[in-house]
């Protein structure tokens, strides 16, 4: 392997080390920042963006985009809360919430394929539609319930023990599955083919429309799973949650080395991108930076990451 391709593979890792190093400069903060307990917190804080980024990786690699993620997460978390209220058992809730997410994705994909419209426009519209639907479903207030096993998936019950919360394991498993799907299945390679050059894919008999619908539905299923984690974290269904989260998720995928024009991207990269986003937020809080400063820093990091990526690929 040449030095250049090695550097390209390690790029996101180096970025992660860089941000970790940045927050380790101050000895005061380092004392807590670099502990296993904080690492666990960062992992837990990464879960929602990470699972969302998995779905988004599929979509972006295929040359698309989904702006309705944040709304989908809110919608599906409300669906989950209502079902728990109605006494559904946890496995049924999980299935139903993931299915609800997949349903929204199916609508997105079908609209994009059938109307031959730009994914940006369709999902921008759906961002509003789904957010409104979530508020409607929740009668414009939070949906509370007595308690559920789902609540435990995103808490670090024992902050000093070695065990990770279930949500972190679910993300890891989902990431592994997505990586295999993209690399080892015909569907996965069709995703790359469509993103690289849709005209060629069509010419070669790839069912581009059907594949696209499937990509968005699958992406939506991941967003449903992220919605479930959101529900677990808040312990209530909140239709106003995750506003603007689509930007964090898209940023994670792009920082991870995917190209917005499609055909390029890896699951590992996106996961590291999601970690970088979480480390930045966590570190900024520990440094005592105000939130507006965090926003500026994160914005600049996104630009720097894409710029570095371009240098790398030259």
């Amino acid at each position: 392997m040449s030095a250049k391709s090695l550097l390209a593979k390690l790029g996101p890792f180096l970025g992660l080390l860089l941000v970790i190093g940045l927050f380790s400069i101050s000895t005061e903060v380092r004392g807590y920042f670099l502990t296993y307990a904080n690492f666990k917190i960062i992992l837990t804080q990464t879960v929602i963006v990470a699972i969302g980024a998995l779905g988004m990786t599929l979509i972006i690699v295929s040359g698309g985009i989904d702006l309705s993620v944040g709304s989908s997460i809110a919608f599906t978390s409300v669906v989950g809360a209502i079902l728990i209220q109605h006494g559904w058992p946890a496995p049924a809730v999980v299935l139903a919430v993931v299915a609800a997410g997949a349903g929204i994705g199916l609508l997105n994909g079908a609209a994009i394929a059938a109307l031959r419209m730009m994914p940006f426009i369709i999902t921008l519209g759906m961002l509003g539609v789904v957010r409104g639907a979530a508020k409607w479903l929740a009668a414009n207030e939070t949906v509370n319930y007595d308690g559920s096993v789902i609540n435990s998936w995103m808490t670090t019950r024992d902050p000093f023990g070695w065990s990770l919360p279930a949500g972190a394991w679910v993300s890891l498993a989902a990431a592994a599955a997505t990586a295999v799907l993209l690399r080892q299945t015909v569907f996965g390679r069709h995703v790359f083919a469509i993103g690289s050059n849709e005209a060629t894919a069509r010419l070669c008999g790839v069912p581009t429309r059907r594949t696209k619908i499937l990509i968005y539905a699958l992406g939506g299923a991941f967003f449903g799973l992220a919605g479930l984690m959101q529900l677990s974290r808040l312990r209530q269904g909140d239709p106003t949650v995750a506003v603007g989260l689509e930007l964090d998720i898209i940023a994670a995928v792009i920082i991870g080395g995917a190209s917005l024009s499609g055909g390029v991207g890896t699951v590992l990269g996106s996961m590291i991108g999601a970690l970088i986003m979480a480390v930045l937020r966590n570190g900024s809080q520990q440094m005592g930076w105000p939130t507006y400063f965090q926003e500026i820093i994160i914005g600049l990091v996104i630009i720097a990451a894409v710029f570095l990526d371009r240098l790398r690929s030259k």
Binding site: Q184, N197, G205
Partner: protein, 503 residues
């Protein structure tokens, strides 16, 4: 060609001892070039020989590692394209570089719009654009038309007009005729002769040696980054040029074949699709090569696309070995049809993906089980084509975008061979590729026919059609007007059929 009044006058352009390396690869080694004012200088060489690198150095996009360049006797070392243009060196790239959404005049004036304190002087801009087009013999070109909706030939005219806007001293044309039909080539040559008279030096890069011999005054052959020959074109036989380019004798470019006709495999009746394909009827036999000739925009590409199910048909029937008509590309692949796009980079290939994936895409599911992909099997299968077709590549995992044009086209063909197709619809299979690869592709096509497979060959290059085909069909304005055995056509009768009777 020394001017008697200025016996010491320097040539328009003089390059000496140019070196350029990319990492470990020595792209150019001690290259020299001399071009006089008003001369058409042809640069020939196989793809990958270093022509494009040399032109990029001239055009200011690359800097040489060593060597000297002089323009009209003054040292010339452009630091970018704009600087090169300021010195009067303009370049027309093989890949057209127009903004498709902008109008014709906006494209011509792009970057040099006349302005008054920041306000665009629209009338002056249009006037200047019109003047540039008029100099090319196109005073009536629709200025407000979006460049994206112009034909490729028209787009090229816009490119040339843009280059002429700045009154260049040297105009570099990289494969200018690769996408033009014969009539447009003639028009381009008229323009080049006009430029010549005005003292503009033209550096003309092309694979079409017949054309080079017609339009060029002198030539320089580049092989493996070195100048291997230079001189006046008038006296040199074409076979010697080819030998210099490839380093071996290519006695016969087109393989000898015995025409044979088997039973009918494809029958197309009354086919129409969209505004550019009004009506086509033809049949194709097993082991037959059928050529489709015609001008750009005559509906040749539309015809093969409609047969392959890429574009929807309005009317008519396509039957393959008597089976009912198929409408999707997927079904057509399964039935044994294979299609090679004329647009290798935008449609034919996925440049960012590997040779293996590009080759195996239509049948990827077969390299594995129930949706799982066996990459090892896929790469082994594709490796066979890499060695058999002489694709110059490291391994099947190399991205197709890194290959030369000839190798890219072989990958596109390998896809049809791997499937394997029984009937090949080839749209301009040798466009823009080097002579060596061309010869290999001709041999391959002839081999397919001798195995009893059938080929439809769409081409703008008449010698290719006459050299390869059993029968040639001519299209004119969306209609397939006539189909005859190749020996019953002459270039003249064929062109007449393609252009239509002149009253």
């Amino acid at each position: 060609m020394t001017d008697p009044l200025f016996p010491t006058s320097a040539p328009r352009l003089a390059l000496a001892g140019i070196h350029k390396a990319f990492g470990a690869t020595q792209a150019l080694r001690d290259v020299s070039l001399e071009v006089a004012a008003g001369e058409v200088h042809a640069i020939v060489g196989e793809n990958g020989a270093g022509k494009t690198t040399l032109m990029n150095i001239l055009g200011g996009t690359l800097a040489p590692d060593a060597g000297s360049m002089h323009l009209d006797g003054a040292p010339y070392r452009p630091h970018d394209t704009l600087d090169a243009r300021k010195h009067g060196v303009a370049m027309i790239h093989q890949e057209l570089s127009l903004a498709p959404h902008l109008s014709a005049w906006e494209n011509i004036m792009l970057g040099a719009e006349p302005q008054r304190v920041g306000w665009l002087r629209r009338d002056a801009a249009k006037e200047a654009a019109r003047a540039a087009l008029a100099r090319l013999g196109h005073p009536d070109f629709p200025l407000d038309r979006a460049a994206g909706s112009c034909s490729i030939a028209e787009q090229q005219i816009l490119e040339i007009a843009r280059a002429l806007r700045t009154e260049p001293r040297v105009l570099i044309m990289d494969e200018p005729t690769s996408s033009l039909a014969q009539a447009d080539v003639e028009r381009l040559f008229a323009v080049i002769r006009q430029l010549k008279q005005r003292g503009v030096s033209v550096i003309y890069i092309s694979h079409f040696l017949e054309e080079v011999k017609r339009i060029g005054d002198r030539f320089t052959v580049i092989k493996d980054g070195q100048t291997v020959g230079t001189g006046p074109l008038g006296e040199i036989p074409q076979s010697r040029l080819v030998r210099m380019m490839v380093g071996r004798e290519v006695a016969e470019l087109y393989p000898r074949r015995v025409p044979r006709s088997g039973e009918t495999i494809l029958r197309v009746a009354g086919l129409s699709a969209g505004p550019r394909l009004a009506r086509a009827d033809f049949t194709l036999a097993k082991g037959e090569i059928l050529g489709i000739a015609g001008l750009i925009g005559a509906g040749r590409t539309e015809l093969v696309r409609a047969v392959f199910g890429l574009d929807a048909c309005d009317d008519g029937v396509v039957t393959l070995e008597g089976s009912p008509p198929l409408r999707t590309t997927r079904a057509n692949w399964r039935a044994g049809l294979g299609f090679l796009s004329e647009n290798r980079k935008e449609e034919g290939l996925m440049l960012g993906l590997s040779i293996a994936e590009n080759t195996a895409l239509p049948k990827m599911a077969q390299f594995g089980r129930s949706g799982w992909l066996n990459r090892g099997r896929m790469e082994t299968a594709v490796n066979r084509w890499i060695s058999q077709l002489g694709i110059k590549a490291r391994d099947p995992r190399q991205p197709v975008g890194e290959l030369s044009g000839g190798s890219q086209q072989k990958v596109a063909l390998a896809r049809l061979l791997e499937y394997p197709a029984r009937l090949f619809l080839l749209d301009e299979p040798t466009r823009g590729i080097d002579v060596g690869s061309k010869a290999q592709i001709y041999e391959l096509i002839a081999g397919l026919a001798s195995e009893g497979r059938s080929v439809v060959l769409v081409s703008s290059y008449l010698p290719e059609l006459f050299g390869m085909c059993d029968r040639i069909a001519v299209m004119r304005r969306g209609e397939l007007v006539e189909c005859r055995p190749a020996k019953d056509w002459t270039e003249a009768t064929l062109m007449t059929a393609a252009i239509g009777s002149v009253n």
